[in-house]
């Protein structure tokens, strides 16, 4: 993730042969849209039956052979589970101030130590996971939806509408991203989690819009679409029923990776005190709080205040990236994407 936080124009890293080779036998097959591929199921070899599998079950198979993706998925389940059930599993209340135990290191009573007001860091990290998770998922889902609609409309109708929308996309992409986000959140965000998420959406939709537009542009000329048109299908039906399903692969991958990117960007904004502001917890806010009081009363450094929230961010994004990588291999084995 580069310093300047460019919006995702598709997956962060280019596709390559995945690190851990999975289903190699199925690579290279040109799977036509919506078609069905028959295959021989080994376990029924004796009876020589043909088990028909859908494209999705092949995707699922490829995903599950991707070891890192499974690790990532497991990690996400644990972490996001902790976030969802934050109220149940946190040992202290999130805002419980204990002025007798300020800035203490990790101990049995406080696994991650305490901060300047004696609040338990472990509890705060768990609540921080929850907030970051909410922001990440919200931004990913909503920006995907917006990008999908805009990309579909632009790609399908073409012409001046396409031109206008692409110019708007260019406008958003040309701006120095972090700077504009900082300005926008400083002035409109008001430290509120949902406002900040909305502002992030405003800049994240461009990536998926471009990809979707590309797919729509290329597919709208294909024969089966023309055939459907000839048999009287309307625009909406064509878009939704025939072209859209082919975009689902890249969309799912992009959305997954966007969760990680959104969490990173939000953490950076909050760290700089422009995004989500205290007392709302978010992992970036926790690190920024640590900067306000970096020392113990005796002059040493309270390293636990900075390390644990940051480590959590790293682990979350790592897991998200693993899952995204696995999804990309599962859903787009033929796709080799460099710079869009």
């Amino acid at each position: 993730m580069t310093e300047a936080s460019r919006p995702p124009q598709g997956p962060l890293a280019p596709s390559d042969d995945s690190l851990f080779p999975s289903a190699q036998g199925l690579e290279g097959e040109n799977i036509a849209p919506n078609s069905v591929v028959g295959a021989v199921d080994d376990t029924h070899a004796a009876g020589l039956e043909l088990k028909v599998r859908s494209q999705w079950s092949y995707a699922r198979m490829r995903f599950f052979r991707h070891r890192l993706a499974l690790i990532g998925l497991f990690g996400l389940v644990v972490i996001f589970g902790a976030g969802i059930f934050a109220g149940l599993i946190s040992p202290y209340s999130y805002s419980e101030i204990d002025l007798n135990h300020i800035i203490q290191g990790p101990s049995l009573a406080h696994y991650f130590g305490t901060d300047a007001l004696g609040r338990d860091q472990f509890t705060r990290v768990i609540w921080g996971i929850r907030t970051s998770m909410e922001v990440g998922v919200f931004v990913a889902v909503v920006s995907t939806f917006v990008g999908l609609v805009i990309g579909a409309v632009a790609g399908y109708y073409g012409g001046w509408l396409d031109n206008l929308l692409m110019r708007v996309t260019d406008l958003v992409l040309t701006l120095p991203l972090l700077a504009i986000l900082l300005t926008a959140t400083a002035l409109l965000g008001q430290g509120n989690q949902w406002r900040v998420s909305l502002i992030l959406v405003f800049f994240f939709w461009t990536g998926i819009a471009r990809v979707v537009r590309g797919i729509f542009l290329s597919l709208r000329e294909k024969e089966y679409v023309e055939a459907a048109k000839a048999s009287g299908a309307g625009d909406a039906r064509l878009m939704f029923r025939h072209i859209l399903p082919n975009t689902l692969g890249p969309i799912v991958v992009n959305a997954t990776l966007a969760v990680g990117t959104a969490i990173l960007v939000e953490a950076a904004l909050s760290f700089l005190n422009f995004g989500i502001k205290p007392p709302t917890p978010s992992l970036g806010v926790l690190v920024s709080d640590a900067q306000a009081n970096p020392n113990t009363p005796t002059g040493g450094i309270a390293w636990w205040l900075t390390i644990f929230p940051g480590l959590t961010i790293v682990v979350i994004v790592l897991c998200v990236n693993f899952v995204g990588d696995g999804l990309r291999d599962a859903l787009d084995p033929t796709q080799r994407r460099m710079r869009a």
């Binding site: 805002s95 419980e96 101030i97 002025l99 300020i102 300047a116 007001l117 004696g118 400083a186 430290g191 005190n273 502001k277 205290p278 007392p279 709080d289 306000a292 009081n293 970096p294 020392n295 113990t296 009363p297 005796t298 002059g299």
Partner: protein, 585 residues
């Protein structure tokens, strides 16, 4: 070329055309310019010549002082430049006035040998040997003309002054020769806080042709760019954002400075400042309070001094129409005050860097004996949760906790309204923390706070002036004289320009009349009595809850002598006795 390209080219031309027409509409200077062409010598050269090792510095009789903020100018009367760090450099070391305030908050005669003030007039006898050293010119005495020029320029409506209070009370001036000047008050507007006037006197003769808003942005100099001073030092070089050098003024009329020069280095980042202090690159700093400073407290080679400053960190309780109706009831305000544990808060926020900092207990005085002992009127509202709860119960409130408890969730209902209030403050880290602490403390006795954090621009620009809040925490910059806070407690009257800073819309006729009398009372003892009476009334009205005075911190190398009394909590800052600093063994 393509048609589209023509269209775009036309668009570009249109934009430039619009710009040009806007230019035609408001021709002239840059719309944000502050034309000031006079500069001191550049700092870089002087800095290159500053020795880096302590031994060399001692030999050359020079030192390095770390300045924490970029300064925008040295005209301390100007609103734009009225900054603490500018005052440290250009205040008492370079440009002095009638009085100087020492580290105990006492006014001492400085450039004046005698001052006489009455309801009719203010007469100042200037010291015979007080003079201006304008480099490149023969030295001129400080005269009555300089005082009159100062008064005129500050009351000029086009001057962007920080405050004209006091100066605008003067009707006319009369010079008696060169060394005596008399100012006559306007009818009924005698100003008893006369000691705060003329703390900074301008050399009118050297500034001919310069406009108040434009001078001294980049130097402290006459209109030919050469440095000028009536203090122990003059500013020989300065570059904005980098630093400045003060050199000894050999023509000063007081005890000559013991150091030959002092380089002020601007280090805006606290961490760098702290490391520079520990590493010995700078010899003294006066940083704003941040908990990272705790690494400097116990260093053997450094002296660390933290004294309460003259800034009043406090709560305003809105008792006007813009606030919650319940806040108009005295017992509610009393309960709030009783539920706040101020010492515990101060210890949490400042324990590591200013141990022993105590809460403020007087609404007009902050420092020394007038603020303590029998004058500590607010002491009776010290932390007492049981009393708070019984007070609420006595007035018929129901639904709250019967005894204070940390995990309490019940909120009182008094007369049909819940004790739930908005609490607004700015986004500074210490205030965010104190809002959390108070929220928890008050919840323990059944009062709920909805905390709102705002950026300073909207807090000071919109929320406070519109009196649109319930409870607000912020700080006032004060001084040793109690009349500095008059505008906070006077009844608000926009037409008469009274009580402009009274955002909480507190109004008491008795306090108003006491303030009015005190403002014009030249008998020091009677005046103090009047202000203390006003302090008692305002303390018991609890429209303001004084919290604490943030510490003023001064750290310097142990080898630096003559600085033991330097940590001055007034706006003079630690350089008030800069001329006595020297390297010892």
């Amino acid at each position: 070329m393509h048609r589209r390209v023509w269209f775009l080219a036309a668009a570009v031309v249109a934009v430039l055309g619009l710009t040009g027409s806007a230019a035609a509409v408001t021709a002239g200077k840059s719309s944000s310019s502050n034309a000031s062409s006079l500069h001191a010598a550049p700092f870089a050269k002087a800095w290159a010549n500053t020795p880096r090792t302590p031994a060399a510095r001692a030999a050359k009789k020079t030192m390095v002082f770390g300045l924490e903020q970029t300064v925008t100018g040295f005209n301390l009367g100007n609103a734009d430049q009225n900054a603490f760090y500018a005052a440290i450099v250009a205040g008492t070391p370079v440009i002095r006035g009638t009085y100087i305030i020492n580290n105990k908050g006492k006014y001492l005669l400085d450039m004046a040998s005698k001052v006489k003030a009455s309801k009719k007039s203010l007469t100042i006898w200037i010291k015979k040997n007080a003079n201006w050293n304008w480099l490149g010119h023969k030295s001129k005495p400080v005269t009555a003309a300089d005082y009159i020029y100062t008064w005129k320029i500050i009351t000029d409506p086009t001057s962007n002054v920080a405050s004209a209070v006091g100066y605008s009370n003067i009707a006319r001036a009369k010079a008696h020769g060169k060394k005596r000047v008399t100012f006559f008050w306007k009818k009924g507007q005698a100003f008893a806080d006369y000691r705060d006037l003329f703390g900074y006197v301008y050399p009118g003769f050297a500034l001919k042709g310069q406009k108040f808003n434009d001078y001294w942005h980049n130097c402290v100099c006459g209109n030919d760019g050469h440095p000028i001073s009536n203090g122990p030092f003059y500013m020989s070089s300065y570059t904005q954002g980098q630093g400045m050098v003060l050199k000894k003024n050999p023509k000063w009329y007081g005890a000559k400075a013991k150091l030959n020069s002092i380089a002020f280095k601007i280090i805006t980042d606290t961490n760098s400042e702290i490391q520079a202090m520990r590493g010995g690159e700078v010899d003294a700093i006066t940083p704003s309070p941040e908990s990272a400073l705790s690494t400097l407290v116990h260093q053997k080679n450094l002296v660390y001094s933290a004294v309460p400053s003259f800034t009043q960190e406090h709560w305003d309780i809105e008792v006007g129409p813009g606030g919650a109706p319940l806040l108009k009831k005295l017992f509610i305000r009393q309960a709030i005050a009783l539920g706040m544990n101020r010492p515990s808060l101060i210890n949490a926020l400042y324990g590591g860097i200013a141990p022993g900092l105590k809460p403020l207990n007087n609404t007009f005085y902050e420092f020394g004996s007038p603020a303590s002992g029998k004058f500590a009127y607010f002491k009776k509202y010290n932390f007492n949760q049981k009393n708070a709860i019984s007070l609420l119960k006595k007035h018929g409130c129901t639904g709250g906790p019967s005894s204070p408890s940390a995990g309490n969730n019940n909120v009182w209902t008094c007369g049909g309204q819940k004790t739930e209030f908005h609490f607004d403050t700015t986004s500074r880290a210490s205030r965010v923390q104190s809002s959390q602490i108070f929220k928890q403390q008050l919840m323990a006795i059944g009062i709920k706070l909805d905390v709102g954090i705002h950026d300073p621009a909207s807090f000071f620009g919109t929320i406070l002036p519109n009196a649109n809040f319930d409870l607000g925490e912020y700080a006032w910059i004060g001084g040793p004289d109690p009349s500095g806070f008059d505008a906070i407690y006077q009844c608000y009257d926009a037409a008469k320009n009274l009580g402009g800073s009274n955002y909480k819309r507190y109004c008491s006729k008795k306090v108003d009349s006491l303030i009015k009398k005190g403002e014009a009372n030249f008998n020091a003892n009677k005046r103090t009595a009047q202000y203390q009476q006003a302090a008692k009334i305002t303390s018991n009205s609890i429209a303001v809850i004084p919290l604490y005075a943030p510490p003023q911190i001064f750290v310097y190398k142990r080898a630096l002598q003559g600085a033991s009394k330097s940590n001055n909590p007034t706006s003079e800052g630690p350089t008030w006795n800069l001329q006595s600093w020297h390297w010892g063994s």
